[in-house]
Amino acid sequence: MYYVTQILNGLGSGSIYALVALGYSMVYGVVKLINFAHGDIIMVGGYTIFVLLGMNAPLWLAVAGSIGFCAVAGVVIERVAYHRLLNNDAPRIALLITAIGVSIFLQNLAQLIFGTNQKPIPKMFTLPAIRVGGMNVSNTLLNIVVALLMMAGLQLLVNTTKIGKAMRATSEDAGAATLMGINTNSVILFTFAVGSALAAVGAVLYSNTYMQIKPMMGGMLGLKAFVAAVFGGIGSIPGAMLGALILGLAESLSVVLGQSAWMDAVVFALLILILLFKPAGLLGQHMKEKV
């Protein structure tokens, strides 16, 4: 039973990684940009919840407000930081440095406004207790179910809707997409909005699970979500999900083995292994570089 709860725990935290990893993967898929500021969106989402709940807003409003605010933040970040670089075919390294800059900016802005200390988040969802081996796992199950639903929804969006198909077309060949009449700038903004909204859902689950937030929370979390996206095959939606869940499991495995101090090392060892043996990731496709 101990193992079952540990596995569930791993999947539960993996689900939060997954929601962030999905955004990493989507943005990379469409604009080939590793948006290192994406992890910090989950922090922005967390503080939005903190502020709204502090203003005695009802729970649904805190959740919806956080998702909406993050979506807007994602769009603003694209417009302010990346748009000109993308439109002028700036080198990837310039985009990467800009993304790191945005990340540092967001972390420092949060410190400036809210201070460096962590803030408590009140218990958000009261769920009926589901006990496995004496432990209440209902929160963990909530994380898993929400993440799976979000992934399924995203798959549906990308595969069946007009804007989703436009995203796939833009991701493959933005020039050809323009020839089809697709406004690739709007597609990119939409991608940032959806990715950031998913990170906000991650922020909701994170706040509910750990009941505290801090300005730097997006750093390691974002990095791990990035590892998860690469591990699963960056650009692939199911890949991001799978990678994140495996990552969560690997973490809980190191706890089971009594090596929790090595948890982060295990995560990055996984990254090194996949890069050595299957650089495109578990479900990734090798993309031919166009000359």
Binding site: K165, A169, A176, M180
Partner: protein, 252 residues
């Protein structure tokens, strides 16, 4: 129609309605002066070809017309609309579609999805469905493959798909960039036959080709490009008989 107009002399064809008008086009890639004051016109219903060696600037001109490349100066008007003042993604909606060099189909999307993308700018779902059926009739090879990923198609099929995709935009004019590239002679024949059919259906054609022989047989008028300039122009038949053109582009 194209047969007839190909016998007409230069001055007479000018009486027709102008569809595309490019004037004094100047395009730079950084410091490289790629297009140096190109001027040409395409009339409604015509097949016009731009021929020339690799690097003469043929693709750059098409990209400038479609808005993928911004010229430094010059004018491009299509059906009276100033294309340089039009956003690139809105150009297709005006009735100007391009079949780009190298096909550029969306390889990870199905044939059907590729065709749907061609109609992205349109809102008339009934018309789109009709055109979808019509495209599969003109290009029957695509019909049995409509659920396949475009990346799994052969080169010839991808060329057909790229043409079908452009037709889904319900274009008044089609820009074709090297449709014969990398295809077997038999497939090239088929592609050119299809282009003729599309033109007979009322679509004006601007064809860019390295296969000058085939292009001059198909087109009514031609422009010969050399290092970013129009070196010669005139009726396709006459150019095909011109000694200089023969020597440079038709293999003696």
């Amino acid at each position: 129609m194209t047969r007839g107009s190909s016998r007409l002399i230069w001055g007479v064809t000018r009486l027709k309605k102008k569809m595309l008008e490019v004037s004094d086009l100047q395009v730079y890639y950084g410091a490289i002066h790629a297009i140096k004051g190109v001027r040409f016109e395409v009339d409604e219903g015509e097949i016009v070809t731009l021929i020339g060696a690799n690097g003469a600037g043929k693709t750059t001109i098409l990209h400038a017309v479609s808005g993928l490349v911004r010229p430094r100066s010059g004018g491009i008007t299509f059906c009276g609309q100033d294309l340089l003042a039009t956003k690139p993604h809105q150009i297709t909606g005006l009735g100007l579609a391009q079949v780009p060099e190298g096909r550029r189909v969306f390889s990870r999307m199905t044939v059907k999805e590729n065709l749907e993308m061609g109609a992205y700018a349109r809102k008339d779902s009934i018309g789109i469905k009709e055109d979808y059926d019509r495209v599969l009739t003109i290009l029957p090879r695509l019909k049995e493959r409509r659920r396949q990923l475009a990346g799994t198609l052969s080169g010839g099929e991808q060329q057909m798909l790229s043409m079908g995709r452009a037709l889904m935009a319900q274009p008044k004019m089609l820009l074709l960039d090297e449709p014969s590239m990398g295809l077997s002679p038999l497939l090239v024949q088929e592609i050119f036959r299809t282009i003729r059919e599309i033109n007979a259906g009322g679509v004006t054609i601007l064809l860019v080709e390295q296969n000058a022989k085939m292009a001059l047989e198909l087109a009514s008028r031609a422009y010969v490009l050399e290092t970013g300039k129009v070196a010669m122009q005139g009726a396709a038949k006459e150019l095909a008989d011109n000694e200089e053109v023969k020597k440079a582009y038709l293999g003696g």
